[in-house]
């Protein structure tokens, strides 16, 4: 009697087949709406800091290293993958990718660091105290400053001592092209 019941059991087990996913060997496609690790497009980002304002776990940090440079740090260790940053971003620079295989043995591995060039006031620059270092700087700062390096030949340079060559060079600075 027990033998027949055993055979029955075996048949019952054989019927559904193997359901186990052979995970690390074969990887099934991820669901469409999965929110994985957020990915930044640094060319689109304007550095408004909206994502860091809205992040519920405050894992996007904004650091102003100096006037022209803003560093955005994404600390993935406490990110809850809510997708709020991607919703808020006005330029669509943040997308929630579908990569979830981000297990690591070091927290630094899930961080993203963005260095953004911040466009400054294009007039005199008087409102920023970074500008008013010395008189030579003010002479040097004539005309406009640009946020597009490809279209221009000028980068504002400062030197500790006054250099007449640099002043002469500044006469040839190009104006930004109209778009």
């Amino acid at each position: 009697m027990w033998l027949t019941s055993k055979i029955k059991q075996i048949l019952m087990v054989m019927k559904p087949g193997v359901v186990t996913l052979n995970y690390p060997a074969e990887r099934p496609p991820v669901p469409k709406n999965l929110r994985g690790q957020p990915v930044w497009d640094h060319q689109k980002c304007i550095g408004c800091g909206g994502c860091s304002d809205h992040c519920p776990s405050r894992c996007i940090l904004t650091r102003d290293v100096c006037q022209e440079l803003r560093v955005m740090l994404y600390d993935g260790s406490r990110c809850t993958y809510c997708g709020r940053c991607a919703d808020v971003c006005p330029e669509g620079a943040i997308t929630m990718s579908n990569s979830f295989e981000i297990a690591c043995d070091n927290k630094e591995d899930i961080t993203t660091r963005l260095e953004l060039f911040m466009m400054t006031c294009q007039r005199c620059g008087r409102c920023y105290e970074m500008e008013k270092t010395n008189a030579i700087d003010r002479i040097n700062l004539k005309g406009f400053r640009y946020d597009n390096l490809e279209q221009r030949a000028m980068v504002r340079k400062t030197t500790e001592t006054f250099s007449p060559d640099m002043l002469k060079e500044s006469d040839n600075y190009q104006r930004p092209s109209e778009k």
């Binding site: 359901v19 690591c104 993203t112 270092t133």
Partner: protein
């Protein structure tokens, strides 16, 4: 290095003690999910045990809250050496959305001396936990890497310039 050690020490089955340190049960459900026949983690010889004294590894889910802090420490000390610690979920890895609140210590690594593997996610998918386990066993390679993006290369070294400016203008700092 760690991988080699893992292979040597844990060449047989890893017995796992699951410790909820104030999680919302999301991560715990996913941990139970990987024990189901679909994700069957016992393929790797991993088994859930009730006592930390039987365990080789500790799965910690949840930001370590103040009441559970001494208990977590005791459970950690009860595991015989060598031991592995897995931090599962974003609460355990870095504290989650409560990383700086008054009753949360904020992450396992602030409590325990060493955390071997972090598995972020809120909650992590069962595949993600399996991936972390496979990473510990040396079956897969690590995919995550720190990303650095720059909009442009600066001809002037901005950091140095900024530091020089700060040094020159210490008086502004004093006046604030």
């Amino acid at each position: 290095m760690l991988k080699k050690l893992c292979k040597k020490m844990f060449s047989k089955s890893i017995w796992v003690y699951h410790c909820n340190t104030g999680a919302c049960n999301g991560c715990d459900i996913e941990i139970l999910n990987i024990l189901t026949p679909f994700y069957d983690v016992e393929r790797f010889g991993i088994k859930l045990v009730a006592s930390p004294r039987h365990a080789d590894a500790m799965l910690i889910s949840g930001a370590v809250t103040r009441p559970t802090l001494p208990l977590v420490k005791r459970a950690y000390e009860a595991i015989p050496n060598p031991k592995l610690v897995f931090a599962i979920g974003s609460c355990a890895t870095g504290g989650g959305a409560w990383f700086d609140t008054y009753n949360v210590t904020g992450g396992v690594d602030k409590v325990l001396s060493s955390v071997n593997y972090y598995i972020p996610g809120c909650p992590p998918r069962p595949e993600a936990i399996l991936y972390g386990v496979a990473l510990a066993l040396g079956l897969v390679d690590k995919q995550a890497a720190p990303v650095e993006l720059k909009q442009m290369e600066f001809p002037i070294d901005m950091y140095e310039r900024n530091e020089a400016w700060e040094k020159r203008n210490v008086i502004y700092e004093l006046l604030k």
